[in-house]
């Protein structure tokens, strides 16, 4: 698996552009591109009951792109004929905007769903990206997983969630 697009982006994300670029790449592979599954993470208007004003995402950009490439390489071990794109936005995002867009292409739909789910799980586990929530009544940094791409249990969990 190689990458149609693995990027940290400062502007709104477009599903159509990512899908079109991915399709052009994936049509060259195996039986061609018959299925693209995408996942968009979107800024919600409330979190744990607090009204969200906006979010700010911050990334270690070069490391994040390296991690996206690692995720694509991992996916290629399980789904060698699939293709993957991962775009994560940084900066200030308003409610309703897309923070992350994962797209997975394959010849058939089952594989496209699995690759897409696997990739978003891995992004959440290991990508060096941070979410800063700004509420009407305060702010907080969200801190989730200790990023460790070598942790086999985390990878196993991502595979399970991909319904493989």
């Amino acid at each position: 698996m190689s990458a149609a697009g693995l990027a940290i982006v400062y502007a709104p994300l477009s599903c159509d552009l990512v899908v079109a670029a991915l399709e052009r790449q994936a049509r060259q592979v195996g039986e061609g591109c018959g299925a693209i599954c995408t996942f968009a993470g979107i800024v919600r208007g409330t979190h744990t009951g607090r009204a969200v004003r906006f979010l700010e995402y911050e990334a270690h950009e070069r490391l994040a792109v390296n991690v996206f490439q690692l995720i694509a390489t991992e996916a290629a071990e399980h789904w060698p004929l699939s293709r993957l794109a991962i775009h994560h936005r940084v900066g200030r995002l308003l409610v309703g905007e897309t923070s992350v867009l994962v797209a997975a292409a394959a010849a058939h739909r089952a594989e496209s769903f699995q690759v897409c789910r696997y990739a978003i799980e891995r992004v959440k586990q290991v990508a060096p990206i941070w979410k800063h929530e700004f509420f009407q009544d305060g702010e907080r940094w969200v801190e989730g997983a200790l990023a460790d791409p070598a942790n086999p249990l985390a990878r196993q969990e991502a595979l399970q969630r991909a319904c493989t």
Binding site: A59, S99, K124, P128, W130, L146, A147, D148
Partner: protein, 82 residues
């Protein structure tokens, strides 16, 4: 020798700076760089048990050696992807 220390997110706020050039002796490790950071900005110690690190945009362990000119990044627990 000199390395560039990079801190992100809450760790950046606790450190008081995104980047800082740090002088370390030959043979120093990432852990030595962290100790210097904690000396300069003690508040970062709150994250000591929950920090990952990267050298030159590759994940690295605390025991990894650093070299002159390296970029040493400290990463609090991540929260991208949603």
């Amino acid at each position: 020798m000199h390395v560039t220390v990079q801190c992100f997110a809450r760790l950046r706020e606790l450190a008081g700076a995104r980047e800082w050039v740090c002088e370390v002796p030959a043979g120093a490790t990432v852990a030595d760089v962290w100790a210097q950071l904690a000396g300069r900005a003690p508040a970062v110690s709150a994250l000591a048990s929950a920090v990952s690190c990267a050298v030159n945009a590759e994940f690295a362990s605390m025991s990894a050696p650093v070299h002159d000119g390296d970029e040493v990044a400290f990463l609090p627990p991540v929260s991208g992807g949603a």
